[in-house]
């Protein structure tokens, strides 16, 4: 790769920013004082308790190394490897998301194709969409009586709207010329939907699906903090209760990395279905 290439220069800049950031962070954390040097006042106010402050990056990196070298250990309900916790979260997100897609995409098709369905369903969508998914949690827990299913329901309800709206929008916006091609070839409605409308609307639908997966991943952390038990959200909360800030920071980073992975996966599908006119 030539040194002058934009990607190369950007990579150098990113790396520099990372190193400078980490160094500033490391330098900004005062070294932990040994117990012997503490004043009486500090001892009384609890300032001497070990590891109550923000940890330096070196500790976080050490933690990451420790956790990632054995991500799937399981030593009881409050001590599971990061891999298991993330696995639970991804599982809930994917189940809730898949259920949402199964409903949102056909329903979006209907709304996009039929002005009547659009007008009839629009008021419901407009009212339901702005509701914070977590606001559903108490109702979900009461009705479903199961914390696992309630978390999945919350994911379902938050990922359905972008998919529904984008599908409807994409389907309604399919060029009339393409529909006319289907009509002059006497395609039946089902064949038209699958061979013309779906491929034509796919890029817009995928945009909605990509927004949805992002929202679902944001929401699962909060939902798991509420329902507890397992998952990365619960893990963060649990480590905070343990005052293990090193683990908290490490899991925050992991949340970011997994979210990026989910988005990249859908981004890949989106590129595969996109077309140039």
């Amino acid at each position: 790769m030539p040194i002058s290439s934009l990607n190369f220069r950007a990579a150098i800049l990113s790396l520099t920013l990372l190193i400078v950031g980490l160094l500033i962070w490391e330098a900004a954390i005062p070294a932990q004082k040994a117990v012997g040097e503490l004043t009486e006042y500090e001892l009384l106010t609890g300032g001497g308790q070990p590891k109550a402050g923000v940890p330096p990056p070196s500790q976080v990196i050490a933690k990451a190394w420790e956790q990632l070298s054995d991500p799937f250990y399981d030593a009881g309900p409050n001590d599971k490897g990061i891999g298991i916790q993330i696995g639970y979260s991804i599982y809930r997100v994917l189940v809730g998301y898949a259920l949402a897609a199964i409903i949102a995409i056909p329903l979006g098709f209907l709304i996009g194709m039929s002005p009547l369905a659009y007008k009839a369903l629009n008021p419901f969508i407009q009212v339901l969409r702005p509701i914070s998914p977590l606001a559903w949690m108490p109702l979900a827990l009461f009705v479903i009586q199961d914390s696992e299913a309630s978390a999945i329901f919350v994911i379902f309800i938050c990922s359905i709207w972008p998919m529904l709206i984008n599908t409807a929008f994409g389907v309604a916006g399919v060029r009339e010329d393409w529909v006319n091609v289907a009509r002059t070839h006497e395609l039946n409605p089902l064949k038209t939907a699958f061979t013309v409308i779906l491929p034509a609307a796919a890029p817009t639908i995928l945009t909605g699906m990509r927004i949805s997966i992002g929202i679902a991943w944001l929401v699962i952390v909060a939902a798991e903090m509420l329902v507890g038990g397992t998952g990365i959200g619960y893990y963060v909360w649990n480590e905070w209760n343990n005052l293990d800030l090193t683990s908290v920071i490490f899991s925050i980073l992991m949340i970011g990395v997994v979210g990026m992975g989910l988005d990249a996966a859908l981004g890949f599908v989106q590129r595969a279905v996109s077309y140039a006119e």
Binding site: D177, W178, N180, V181, R183, T184, H185, E186, L187, T195, V196, P199, A200, A202, V273, Y275, A276, E277
Partner: protein, 299 residues
């Protein structure tokens, strides 16, 4: 005996946006014979595309009927192939798949190999061979895209082929080549073609008969001009034919002057069939060949 395609008292009105009505054309009546190549010429907005969409079955007229081969046209059909001005290729499919899309709709019983073979043959006829056919429409030039669209339509052997300004977006050189290709494929079939164009020379080159429309609103199909130049025709040779300029002048005068003068003019009951016009300078022994009524119109 009715012609192959019979358009009877076709009227199209639209709401004019101010509470009233806009009559695009009224009682248009004309016929097209089997195997005939008919071109319709008229100013922008006179309702050519509207007529074509009705013939295709893509939209319904306010009143009137279209009868093809003894049955009334209701809705689109594989028997009427359409080439749209903007090509209307499906951009997510390759060139070949755009054609197989049509062929497999026409022949659902064919094997995949048969469909591909047939499609490749028609693509080759319009000069698309080799790697090109695996490219997406966005990777083709405008002229190539229109060729694909023509191949898709011809490959299905529709009883009637409808072309809405198929070369409108092309430059003059490409236009010329594709006109030649169109003539070549058409020559090998008994295809009935109905085509819209703005280009007078294109119309003379391709048509057996040209229908002339007056300006809208209340547009009419006023004349039906026979092109008395023998086939096979060739762009460089037809201009030397004695009838060429005579016909061309007639068309230019119509579009330049008379289409405006005749606009909105009602010709009374039952006289909405286009006046037949035949101009032939190669028959000097019969100078009064054209009917007297026509001569009056000509002045």
């Amino acid at each position: 005996m009715k012609p192959f395609l019979s358009v009877e008292n076709l009227t199209q009105r639209y709401p004019d946006g101010a509470g009233g009505e806009l009559t695009v054309f009224e009682d248009a009546t004309f016929g097209v014979e089997k195997g005939e190549f008919v071109v319709i010429l008229g100013h922008s907005g006179c309702g050519k595309s509207t007529i074509m969409n009705i013939l295709a079955g893509l939209s319904d007229p306010t009143s009137g009927v279209v009868i093809m081969d003894g049955t009334e046209v209701k809705g689109p059909s594989l028997d009427r192939g359409v080439v749209f001005q903007n090509y209307s290729l499906l951009p997510w499919l390759s060139t070949l798949k755009n054609v197989t899309f049509g062929v497999s709709a026409r022949h659902p019983e064919w094997s995949k190999a048969q469909v591909i073979e047939h499609s490749t043959k028609y693509l080759a006829m319009v000069g698309l061979e080799g790697d090109v056919i695996h490219r997406k429409p966005s990777q083709l030039s405008g002229g190539m895209r229109q060729r694909v669209s023509i191949a898709r339509a011809f490959a299905n052997h529709p009883k009637l082929l409808l072309l809405d300004e198929p070369f409108g977006a092309l430059d003059a050189l490409t236009r010329g080549t594709i006109q030649d290709e169109l003539l070549k494929i058409w020559g090998g079939t008994e295809q009935t073609v109905f085509m819209i164009t703005h280009d007078i020379d294109e119309a003379i080159l391709l048509a057996d008969r040209i229908l002339l429309m007056t300006n809208g609103p209340y547009a009419r199909v006023a004349e039906s001009v026979e092109i008395t130049i023998p086939r096979p025709r060739n762009r460089t040779e037809i201009i030397e034919h004695p009838n060429y300029y005579a016909i061309r002048n007639h068309l230019v005068t119509f579009l330049g002057k008379r289409s405006k003068e005749m606009a909105g003019q009602q010709t009374g009951e039952g006289s909405n069939r286009p006046t037949p016009v035949r101009i032939d300078k190669t028959e000097p022994e019969e100078p009064e060949q054209a009917p007297p009524a026509l001569r009056a119109v000509n002045e």
